[in-house]
């Protein structure tokens, strides 16, 4: 595949070079974080105090700079749905009817002015007035793991700082920490069914995705109950205080021991906590409602927990949900392949939008749904679809104007016919990249996407969105107008 096809453009923009270059370097031992230790580690590396970066801006280690962008600031929370394996765009969000190929059961129709597979995604179809579709999105890479990481960290995983790049959710957790109150007990970044989610990168582990596997009819968070029961656990915990209180308080071996004690308190707060239980327990009724009516699905359960955890206002600001697998290389139209997946998606997402609208939280909650890439517009010999760089991304809530379709592909979905947005500021109309989606998320949350943190292990400056300050990437403002 050719990432750079426009030779002239490539020569003109050194940024275009840098965007793609594969740095793979890190210490295999502990990656420094922004703990006390890391700071002095950096200071000792011969970069003490003030130094000059290549672009001649004087900054100090630890400084956080931005260029004062006006953000959208229309959302408080994000639900990021990652369709792993890559959903076929031409069968779903960028529906194309191909005679003799598209199954009749898809019931092609025009809904809200949009060609739509009513038979495949009926509930989402009914919500087309609430969601916006961006159809001019292109992926940089067509390898699942690489492109999935790309979508989560908003940059090449093998580019400068790619290896130590935090998940966007970790940055959101860090940025929103200042708004957190003492009574809020939930982790800021919750990952549902997303064991493979990108982590906190070089940031402290407190910004790590908090992994939860939602289950119906039971508390979902791993290890928030003790098999000995609450009463016995209370005794055990008080014994721990008796046996270890002095060492935790005095920390004779260093401050790390005190840090651990604080985390124990936070962990204890999450246990046998009715607020936690309420938010992370899926009732059978909800599970069925987000499922197929008579049974729940893992994805449906995850959306129930996402809704509840955000509604609790306990400090959770970013929920990532992984939902796969959409890697339909063979027999894509067999009942148990795309149609089965689409039904799970449709039931759950439809119910979520219903609930958010009913509770009045739709406006504060930005929903973003994307795969790592799209699938080939032409059916393969195996009656499947292979990897393709173009895909469509769904946005909803959080200030997004419903009913919009931004960008368009050609008749088959094989090429972008209309970018549909103004680009990121350089005046050049172009495709939407994962970096732009990331910038859109930040902007909606009121986070300046041009922020650069000079606390990364290389002191190179960690850009929330790479090269954003040069206008190379930026939010899709058209979503909000």
């Amino acid at each position: 595949m050719n990432y750079i096809t426009n030779k002239k453009k490539q020569r003109d923009s050194s940024v275009e070079f840098c965007r793609l270059h594969p740095h793979r370097f890190r210490s295999f031992l502990d990656r420094p974080d922004i703990s006390r230790r890391a700071f002095f580690q950096l200071a000792g590396a011969g970069l003490t105090g003030s130094f000059l970066l290549p672009r001649a801006s004087a900054v100090t280690a630890g400084q956080v700079l931005n260029s004062g962008m006006l953000t959208q600031n229309s959302a408080k929370k994000v639900i990021f749905i990652h369709l792993t394996g890559a959903m076929s765009h031409v069968d779903t969000l960028d529906f194309k009817v191909t005679n003799g190929v598209t199954p009749d059961t898809f019931a092609p129709n025009t809904v809200n002015g949009v060609a739509w597979p009513v038979g495949l995604l009926p509930k989402l179809g009914a919500h087309l007035g609430d969601v916006a579709l961006v159809r001019s999105v292109t992926s940089h890479a067509l390898v699942h793991s690489l492109a999935q990481t790309w979508a989560q960290v908003g940059r090449s995983p093998v580019a400068a700082l790619g290896d130590i790049a935090p998940n966007v959710g970790s940055i959101v957790a860090l940025e929103k920490e200042k708004e957190r109150t003492a009574s809020q007990k939930f982790p800021a970044f919750v990952a549902l069914n997303a064991a493979a989610a990108s982590g906190q990168g070089y940031l402290n582990a407190s910004y790590a995705p908090f992994q939860v596997t939602p289950r119906a009819g039971a508390a979902s968070i791993t290890n928030t109950t003790n098999s000995n029961g609450q009463t016995t656990f209370s005794t055990m915990y008080s014994r721990l205080g008796q046996y270890d209180g002095a060492m935790r308080a005095q920390a004779p071996y260093g401050a790390d021991l005190k840090d651990m004690d604080k985390l124990y308190s936070a962990a204890r707060d999450m246990m046998y906590n009715p607020v936690v239980d309420a938010a992370f327990t899926v009732s059978n009724a909800d599970s069925f409602r987000y499922g197929n009516g008579t049974a729940g699905t893992n994805f449906g359960n995850a959306l129930v927990v996402a809704k509840q955890a955000l509604a609790a206002d306990q400090g959770t600001r970013f929920v990532q949900i992984n939902f796969g697998s959409w890697d339909h290389h063979q027999n894509i139209y067999a009942a148990n392949v795309l149609p089965a997946m689409a039904q799970q998606l449709d039931n759950a997402l439809g119910a979520l939008i219903d609930d958010l609208k009913a509770s009045g939280r739709f406006g504060e909650t930005l929903i973003i749904m994307m795969g790592e890439f799209g699938r080939t517009p032409a059916l393969s010999a195996a009656a499947g679809r292979d990897h393709y760089s173009i895909q469509s991304v769904l946005f909803a809530g959080g200030g997004v104007t419903g009913g919009k379709v931004i960008g368009a592909t050609n008749a088959t979905g094989s090429a972008i016919a209309d970018f549909g947005w103004a680009g990121s500021g350089s005046g050049v109309k172009r495709t939407v990249w994962a970096e732009d989606v990331e910038a859109t998320m930040y902007s909606a949350l009121g986070i300046d996407w041009t922020t650069i943190r000079y606390d990364d292990p290389f002191l190179r400056g960690y850009e929330y969105v790479p090269f954003a300050k040069d206008g190379n990437y930026g939010p899709i403002k058209e979503l909000f107008t």
Partner: protein, 674 residues
């Protein structure tokens, strides 16, 4: 493991019980205890069940219980502890800090020379020396990834030999657990993963073979330069059989021309073996304008020079050997030199790429900026970037590179620094993969630095780094010798305790031992070992197929009890490195995970807890402290625990025992190596 006759076992247990009594209750006089009858439940511990238990763990160090050695050592030592002298027994304040003289020798070797010299110059007081209890736990964990058994603790503490610390280190370095731990350590360094975010798949068989190569090399104490050469210059067609073939294929990347693969392979060799992560930067652009604040060496290097390194890979066909015609998703990796286009090597067809020509400068697309001719030069000859050495035409380029890399002084410096970072918490050069070769020589300090860079030496202790590197070379790259040198130093043997006000900025002076949270695998294995409840993990694709210890898991991705191991951030040898920061999830896992709770609540009669609870309260408490925390309880700790245990019925006493064991697993001095 010695097998006991029932009669002898009974006698030993009696002795153990008596000695614990002496320690805990009657400090002044040892009194004989009545002999237990053979039918006493305690005797099963040393009898039939004990052997079964040991067999189940299939590990000579699994049984954490008191053995005849402990008993006899306790018998001769008759240590006396009271509230008043407890602190001085556990934390002696005498110079050297040990009840033996090993540490009272002023300074040993180059490490101490430079570390204490700098502390003196900076007027920073060092921490006191470790006690024997601190030392035996720390060193056993650092070298083998395990906590010491009570036998080992007591034997060591009671040993009066002046060289007992060095002897302990020798014993640990030659133990099978050392092999487990350092196989993982090197597999982490060398990115031995089943699959990575570049889409490279080694398969479990490849991972096992790579581990096998590392393990065998360690077992033979193969010189590290030899090990590196074998990986860099490897050729062959079956990565399941030939472990060293697994290194270079880990850096195959798609989506671009073949030069992208050469680049990443060369960059990885530079990072892993030369600490030069910046070569990767240079493979896209000149250093000037990019590395100005980071590396004087990088600042002075050009992309063309970096191509010279990548060119060493240009004759290498890294191939997928698809051995199953019906399944394209399984294959070995192969590495072959000088492969012409449109030829078949083993089971792989090389279509268009010409691996008989040097690195071509003509690319339009891919993952790196376009490569273009430099003047009239269209191809780059393989040229070693540190000295300009040129591989002869027709020679084995990678063998030439391997010789250049391993004979480079920087090669030695890099391993010495990685090792230092592990044992001391922070590298002498940190980050440890970002060396600046032009800022390392104290006799030739850097000049002509760009304004953005302080013209200072990079290492915190430049002469120490260089002398350690030289001594590593002199030892013929003996990893065991390097570990001995570090762990036998007085600097390593400083306590983590620090009297007075601690200034974080002094961390790089190494004035105290920096604690590290136990690795994921270490916590797991410490709980298995000290609880006496074994663990078994099986996968038909592994070699061996069954392991009993987390430190023997072939890779961190998706192996073992994930809900327990993953929160401790064992990394994935790809984009998530192993790390040591604490988190809420770790606290939840230690408090509640099934892995811990089944061990705390086990009703088996063979567990440490079951054995301990057959003893009087004070002895039970002492046994648990010694087994889990590798130390005796303080009088206050002892009194607290005894108070909870005493006057309870059998059920309640069992629960209090469980409460205690559970608390010990959640104690900060269990979670950290201090």
């Amino acid at each position: 493991m010695t097998k006991f006759s029932v009669g002898a076992a009974a006698g030993l247990l009696v002795a153990a019980a008596g000695l614990l009594t002496i320690r805990a209750q009657d400090p002044l006089e040892a009194t004989d205890q009545p002999e237990l009858s053979v039918s006493d439940p305690s005797c099963t511990f040393f009898g039939r069940d004990h052997d079964k238990f040991v067999a189940a763990l299939s590990d000579t160090r699994a049984a954490s219980h008191l053995t005849e050695d402990v008993v006899s050592k306790l018998g001769s030592a008759k240590k006396i502890m009271t509230d008043a002298n407890y602190a001085s027994v556990l934390f002696p304040s005498a110079p050297g800090g040990s009840r033996t003289d090993a540490l009272q020798n002023p300074m040993v070797g180059i490490i101490d020379k430079y570390i204490f010299q700098k502390l003196s110059e900076e007027n920073v007081a060092p921490a006191p020396a470790t006690t024997d209890f601190e030392f035996v736990r720390r060193t056993t964990l650092d070298l083998t990834g395990r906590i010491p058994t009570p036998t080992e603790v007591v034997n060591f503490v009671n040993d009066t030999a002046s060289d007992k610390r060095a002897k302990l280190v020798d014993g640990l370095i030659n133990s099978p657990q050392w092999l487990d731990k350092w196989t993982i350590w090197l597999a982490d360094l060398l990115d031995n993963n089943r699959q990575n975010d570049l889409g490279v798949v080694r398969f479990p068989q490849g991972v096992s073979a790579f581990n096998g190569f590392i393990r065998t090399s360690l077992q033979q104490n193969k010189p590290y330069n030899q090990m590196a050469k074998e990986m860099i210059a490897a050729t062959g067609l079956n990565s399941y059989q030939q472990g060293e073939l697994n290194f270079l294929p880990g850096y195959v990347m798609g989506g671009g021309p073949i030069q992208d693969v050469f680049d990443l392979q060369a960059a990885s060799v530079a990072e892993k073996f030369l600490g030069l992560a910046h070569l990767n930067c240079l493979l896209c652009h000149n250093g000037r304008g990019h590395l100005d604040a980071l590396s004087l060496w990088g600042y002075n290097k050009t992309r063309t020079e970096a191509y010279g390194m990548a060119s060493f890979m240009s004759h290498t066909f890294t191939s997928q050997q698809r051995f199953d015609a019906n399944n394209n998703n399984v294959y070995y990796w192969g590495l072959q030199n000088n492969v012409a286009p449109n030829t078949t090597v083993g089971l792989a067809r090389n279509n268009g790429n010409n691996y008989t020509l040097d690195y071509s400068l003509n690319t339009q697309t891919g993952n790196r900026p376009q490569r273009g001719n430099v003047g009239t030069t269209t191809r780059v000859r393989p040229t070693y970037i540190m000295n300009g050495a040129l591989a002869p035409v027709g020679s084995d380029y990678r063998a030439f590179l391997a010789d250049q890399v391993t004979s480079d002084f920087q090669f030695s410096r890099t391993m010495v620094n990685y090792m230092w970072e592990y044992f001391f918490g922070i590298g002498l050069v940190s980050p440890s993969n970002q060396f600046d070769p032009m800022r390392l020589d104290p006799d030739n300090p850097p000049t002509d630095c760009p304004p953005s860079m302080p013209c200072t030496l990079q290492a915190s202790h430049p002469r120490l780094l260089n002398e350690l590197a030289q001594s590593f070379i002199n030892s013929n790259y003996d990893l065991k010798a390097l570990m001995r040198q570090m762990t036998n130093s007085r600097a390593y043997q400083l306590s983590a305790r620090y009297d007075g006000v601690w200034n974080e900025a002094n961390e790089r002076l190494f004035a105290r031992k920096l604690v590290r949270r136990l690795w994921s695998e270490e916590i797991h294995d410490a709980i298995v070992q000290s609880s006496g409840v074994p663990a078994t993990y099986t996968n038909a694709a592994w070699n061996p197929t069954t392991v009993n210890w987390a430190m023997q898991l072939p890779e961190p991705l998706g192996t073992g009890p994930g809900t327990f191991l993953d929160p401790f951030l064992r990394g994935n040898r790809d984009d998530e490195p192993r790390r040591g920061d604490p988190s809420i999830a770790q606290a939840l896992a230690l408090m509640n995970d099934g892995f811990v709770m089944t061990r705390v609540n086990s009703t088996a009669t063979t567990t440490t807890l079951a054995q301990a609870l057959r003893l009087p309260d004070d002895q039970a408490v002492t046994t648990l402290y010694l087994t889990v925390l590798s130390r005796y309880p303080s009088p206050t700790e002892l009194a607290t625990a005894v108070n909870n245990l005493k006057n309870t019925n059998a059920t309640a006493r069992t629960q209090e025992g469980r409460n205690l064991l559970w608390s010990l697993y959640n104690k900060v001095d269990f979670i950290y190596n201090y």
